[in-house]
Point group: C2
Amino acid sequence: MSVRLIESTPSAYGYPLLIKNLLKTPRVYSPDREIIFQDKSRYDYRTLYRRICRLAHVLDRAGVKQGETVAVMEYDSHRYLESFFAIPMMGSVIHTVNIRRSPESLVYTLNHAESAVIIANIEFLALLESIQDRLTHLKKIILIDGEAETATTSLEVVGTYEDLLADSPADFRFEDFSEDAVAATFYAVGSGRAPKGVCFSHRQLVMHTYSILACLCAYRFQPMADSGDVYMPLTPMFHVNAWGLVHLFTHLGAKQVYPGRSDPETILDLVQAEGVTFSHCDPSLIHTLINCPRIKEVDLSGWKVIVGGAPLSPDLCRSALELGINICSVYGMAETGPMLTAAALKPHMADWSLARQADVRTRTGLPAPLVHLEVVDVLGDPLPHDGKSIGEVVVRAPWLTRGYTGNPEESEKLWRGGWLHTGDIGYIDEEEYLHLTDRTEDAIKTGGEWIPSMELEDIICEHEAVGEAAVTRVPDEKYGEKPLALVVLKPGFEGKVDEETIRRFCKEYVRKGVLPKHGVPERIAIVDAIPRTSVGKISRRQLRQQNKPFDLNREPGSSD
Amino acid sequence: MSVRLIESTPSAYGYPLLIKNLLKTPRVYSPDREIIFQDKSRYDYRTLYRRICRLAHVLDRAGVKQGETVAVMEYDSHRYLESFFAIPMMGSVIHTVNIRRSPESLVYTLNHAESAVIIANIEFLALLESIQDRLTHLKKIILIDGEAETATTSLEVVGTYEDLLADSPADFRFEDFSEDAVAATFYAVGSGRAPKGVCFSHRQLVMHTYSILACLCAYRFQPMADSGDVYMPLTPMFHVNAWGLVHLFTHLGAKQVYPGRSDPETILDLVQAEGVTFSHCDPSLIHTLINCPRIKEVDLSGWKVIVGGAPLSPDLCRSALELGINICSVYGMAETGPMLTAAALKPHMADWSLARQADVRTRTGLPAPLVHLEVVDVLGDPLPHDGKSIGEVVVRAPWLTRGYTGNPEESEKLWRGGWLHTGDIGYIDEEEYLHLTDRTEDAIKTGGEWIPSMELEDIICEHEAVGEAAVTRVPDEKYGEKPLALVVLKPGFEGKVDEETIRRFCKEYVRKGVLPKHGVPERIAIVDAIPRTSVGKISRRQLRQQNKPFDLNREPGSSD
């Protein structure tokens, strides 16, 4: 037998999960709350809805059809917010363009996404003019600001955003369609390879909204959010659906503040003037703000900030906590829409010292509701949540990209075995927090186990003679891969310490149970210097490329 | 053109919205929280999951297949909670049996639902024995308690619940299947007609859970809920999926307290002993508790109670508020799974006087997130939210029943025009709160407008000569229906006031704009008494039946 499917009478309404349904509740609950753009614009949720309707009319008149792509090149603004809703609500696809990438990348992604219309801030006009001959699908431009330029540009400009809206009716009939319709697309930036397109459907955006709503509003974790918050994004909105927080805070009917292109002082001014209580940004912005002299004059004790995009260091976290900022790190990626985990503080940790809190708040985090997250061994089997078993992080959730646009091979690789492979290496502790230790591309998969290269480097550096160490991998017939260590000795130790000493030293850690048996490097090369990137990090790519011809059957030292 | 559907690489995991996914988060966030049954049992969420697995094994061994129905006849208990999850998680359907109905109703619903196995409290054994010959699909019984009786009953008893669980493995592989699989079924009781079966799919239960999560946790309304609450149901769990609150509080990983079959004193003891903070019940239970002497000894100031099933009177609401109970009414019905609205207090009302709060908290309420609720005229067009335009309440939401099982005619009637017709009459005020005034079957549809009979009765009773009034409807060729009023005069007015006086009095209200023109009764009959039900309410059914032969072409007074 099999399950009994629900029967539907012909007239029953199926209620597809479309993002237009997120707009109903704020207009009922808090129609008067404001949406603010810098010191330039301020309106309520009733007006937001009318402006979304007007924008849909503008796009409709510009010839945008269902299934077509409309790109947006803009700073964080109320117009971006309106585009987040109007474009998908009419059945079209919003392409949130990374405006910080090279013209090459811009040409590639606009063409690959088949973007037919671009809503572009006037500041990108010259750039667009310079690449227009290479844009294969572009038909029309809607300019944000720049009334004067519409007449003179060689691009086909429909008009300026505000003029066009003013000319359009304030009501639009948003039809129903499949909840599996693509709502949004953008590009994940790979290391040197072509950007990879990801897509998210209406259903996925709605489910993502509801999961982060639960995560932030229902579990008494810190930081928390609710409809009384004042939201201001501090990551570019093109960055992974604005982390889903624009959908969330709009559904909550919260007051929203859009900073546009701002410097740290303006950001702090807006936080103070509008009473901002919830933001998201990367660690470098927190660093910049903390080092901004103005910060002394602003009371930040009501400000909740979630930080992602790069690891948040305990030091930086503690500095923010000392300023009263309720901060924690979150984890996700382009492919995951993005939210997977939040390093939220559990209720019983609320009275811990700031240092101890910083240790929790900088972890990778607890999985959001409905996220099924595991750390798996090389066979794909889940590892225990014991704070030490290291494996690849794999996930399932209702909103993960179903593949890369037009790239079946990479799509299948991403989803091998029915789990999305994050490419991150880490472990889950006994309190269920995920800790990342490495990227899979930097870890060594040997004898069925993952050896994080950074962990092995730390061990080797414990030896009194070692100044620096870098670990990479080499192929191994029996074990798949084996670690290779490059070691720079401290001054005075040259010639006194050999490869075998270091290897014996590593074996001590195997005995202590810290390092798996296969983690002892088969080959250790004493070298003069380790390749580093421009910002001083070990260049793992260069290491791997350099060591490709390294052959374990050759004698040590003959590799380069 | 049409929308672009999301493409899925073959290995991508689709993540059906199955209720098993609600169980993941509590085990990660709060595995140690407790689930308590009276003073008899107490275990944590880890154990809950293991017991759900064990129950699935028990049912599997009893031959329950996917798509088959398992009925539950039980008081509110941890076993009912376990059944809420285990039965649908294995792909079967839980039939939550109304244990308060007649044996006839029991036979009808068990057969109609094709219930193959019943999990029954020992207290229902004799009843089941008495009807077993008429149960067409029943194969086996699992008894809750009653070890001694398993040997002597004529029913085929597999064993007792706890013995069977103890004998079963603590791990079960819950397979994926369609989110549109039926998870739960039960019967809506109509007035005198056969009960009508409604069904809810996994997807519907998950979406209902998420909407009430948002409604109760995210909008700063009063009362609010979160994972720190201690939940205790005070309605029977067979009552419309336990209002979805069992799913919600389980997903939140909240502490849960199940009272079993309890008297008011035991309920108050449990509230105090376990620190219960969130319950739901009907108004009569609140009335009973408030009048229980023990209530003076219990601090109820942390207790949030949502009340439904019947209107909550402002007096009762105020009494509860004075005891510190954070109370509000909610609205829904069997067909709506059930939650549609909550008469939650908006943040700006928090410091209002209790009397003024009671006025808000006893309204029908604000629509929950994702609920699209309108009041429509007889043509189905939405009426303005102006606090006076009265029409039928129609709704759309992602979790409404798609029809009545095996009853295509009633199903289409329920869903005519693509909206679920609640059969309730009311209006929406300018703050978006719904107010119910009547049932459609009691209102008069005349000249394209709804006239609530209760409202017209109130107007007639304003006349100094009128002791009582009852309004019903009679067919009218031109206007569809017309109101008919029965009037009992006050002592001393007999013979002094005639039909025309009352009619003139009503016309005054038309002039004032309170009553629509067609609301003036065509016929008013002065009578000696008005038919009432056993509890003193006007018997509208009897009124309609009595007045069927009432013919407008006959002279007044000749009708009976």
